[in-house]
């Protein structure tokens, strides 16, 4: 675990080195800013354009969080329903798979035609991108619950729903968490794609306008913000997972052992 954390911190110097190479390369090569701006220029733009960037970022963030929340909530409901009903599994699973094969860039404009240029079509695009990993990971985790545990609780006279609530759902929480973490990384990108197909605000919209005016530094500033949002959401889900599922952390279990157990008889 400690080793993993040390490896995670290695990402910081790696990232810094990439930025440094980029900065030096642009300076030495005399690359024009409209083609590829230097990181310092992007940072300056982030600061100078903050008054415009902030409301646009807020729009994108709201679309992302609503779509993400909807994807997690409906994804859980769908996975549980599929788990409980073999009939529903046969009916729903093909449609769920089809929903992922639809080319989003072609489908998103249709949503705009149907639902206008407001919030709703963006939330729906984010939902379409984000619900799939939740359903697949949770349904798989529910199906692979340790049969010894479900058998045991059945011998106690538990109903089907009690088995789900007491054993299958808690056992599937780590699987759900990995699906939600994956989805957190996709959700922001979904919102940006939705904004490309028709929006009056949002980072995706701003990104598109900036690149059509060769304001490349502004495009990069938007990209930086979008990435930061995705990373923040991903990390927040990871943190929530650590706090909510303490038994999945081996070092925690051992710490409790020394605290709770005086001496082995």
């Amino acid at each position: 675990m400690r080793r993993e954390r040390a490896a995670a911190w290695l990402a910081v110097p790696m990232f810094a080195a990439t930025v440094a190479v980029w900065q030096i390369g642009v300076a030495l090569g005399h690359v024009p800013a409209w083609l590829l701006p230097a990181p310092a220029g992007v940072a300056a733009t982030l600061w100078q354009a903050r008054a415009v960037l902030w409301p646009n970022a807020a729009t994108t963030l709201v679309e992302t969080l609503l779509g993400f929340g909807l994807a997690v909530a409906l994804g859980i409901v769908l996975a549980v329903a599929i788990h409980l009903s073999p009939l529903l599994r046969r009916i729903a699973v093909p449609w769920i798979v089809v929903s992922q094969t639809v080319p989003l860039l072609a489908f998103a404009p249709l949503l705009a035609v149907w639902f206008g240029f407001g919030l709703l079509p963006k939330v729906l695009v984010v939902f379409l991108v984000a619900f799939f990993p939740v359903v697949v990971d949770l349904a798989d985790a529910l199906r692979t619950t340790d049969p010894d545990m479900t058998r045991l609780v059945r011998t106690m006279g538990a109903s089907r729903l009690a088995v789900l609530w007491l054993v299958e759902l808690p056992a599937a929480l780590p699987g759900l968490a990995s699906g939600v973490r994956l989805t957190a990384a996709y959700a922001v990108a979904g919102a940006v794609v939705a904004e490309w197909t028709g929006a009056s605000s949002g980072l995706g919209n701003w990104m598109l306008q900036s690149s059509s005016q060769f304001e490349t530094a502004q495009t990069f500033a938007a990209i930086v913000l979008v990435s930061a949002m995705g990373v923040a959401l991903y990390l927040a889900v990871g943190l929530a997972e650590r706090l909510a599922l303490p038994w999945t952390r081996p070092e925690q279990a051992l710490g409790e052992a020394t605290a709770a157990a005086p001496a082995s008889p």
Binding site: D148, L152, G157, A162, A171, A253, S264
Partner: protein, 273 residues
């Protein structure tokens, strides 16, 4: 052996039970008209080779599987009512890793609809009686194998309303822990005051713990020896070296066919050989 002829109602009864896993045409059923009863309050052990139907008998009594013929009764309940009638302890402890020890022990009470606070209180009382309350807030991952089996047994005690079904509870433990747990179980079972049916591969364990040892042979499973164990309680480890104990052990081995010929030496030999 016939359940209908028993004078007092038996706690556990299999009445001419047939069970086949290969469908109605299965030429070799696991059980074919087997009858067996355990009277209330008794500690009965079943020994036999793999494939003689020991685990099937427990699954039938626990309600996890239905017989293809005959009737299974536990404490006056039968059919679908068997689920929830007896406490069942699987080979692997099956403790839920996300529940603390006290909440694992309380699990059967929660399933039965007892409110959380009251279920916890009763589980804690039981843990305290067995000097395990120091572990009450630990998670199962923090416990040793022997400790996990103790917790699993106490959980079984709270799920049994008078009968406990133990499926090779100590099969995965090392020899020393196992001996320790056998002594512990002897005490714990006496305190619980419930009917116990123990399935085991270990002849010493069966004779050391039980009032009665049933030897099964298969397949289909049939009773080849029904042996009372008239050894005084509480039993101590030394008893396993005493002449009465070794005499009983000889009878069980003879019934199992161990030592009867060069190809019958292994307890784990092919079923029905």
């Amino acid at each position: 052996m016939d359940a209908t002829a028993a004078p007092a109602p038996a706690a556990l009864a299999l009445d001419r039970v047939t069970k086949r896993f290969g469908g109605p045409g299965d030429p070799r059923p696991v059980l074919d008209g087997l009858s067996l009863t355990v009277s209330a309050g008794a500690f009965c052990a079943i020994v036999g080779p793999s494939g003689a139907g020991k685990t099937t008998i427990l699954d039938l009594l626990a309600g996890l599987t239905r017989p293809d013929g005959g009737e299974v009764r536990v404490l006056g309940r039968n059919g679908a009512g068997l689920l929830g009638a007896a406490g069942y302890m699987p080979q692997r402890d099956a403790l839920l890793p996300w529940r603390r020890v006290v909440d694992n022990v309380a699990l059967p009470l929660r399933v039965a609809g007892v409110p959380a606070a009251k279920a916890r209180e009763r589980a804690l009382t039981l843990l305290r009686r067995f000097d395990l309350d120091a572990y009450a807030l630990a998670r199962p991952a923090a416990l040793s194998g022997g400790m996990r089996q103790r917790v699993a047994f106490l959980r079984t005690v709270l799920s049994g309303r008078g009968a406990l079904l133990l499926d090779e509870p100590f099969g995965a433990l090392d020899a020393l822990t196992r001996a320790d747990l056998q002594d512990w179980l002897q005490d714990a079972a006496a305190q619980a005051g419930q009917t116990v049916l123990l399935v085991t591969h270990d002849v010493d364990e069966a004779l050391y713990l039980a009032d009665r040892v049933v030897v099964l042979a298969g397949r289909p499973g049939r009773v080849v020896l029904d042996l009372p164990v008239p050894l005084a309680r509480p039993r101590r480890r030394e008893i396993t070296l005493s002449p009465p104990f070794t005499a009983l052990k000889g009878r069980v081995y003879a019934a199992l066919g161990v030592g009867a010929g060069p190809h019958r030496l292994r307890l784990e030999g092919p079923a029905g050989a």
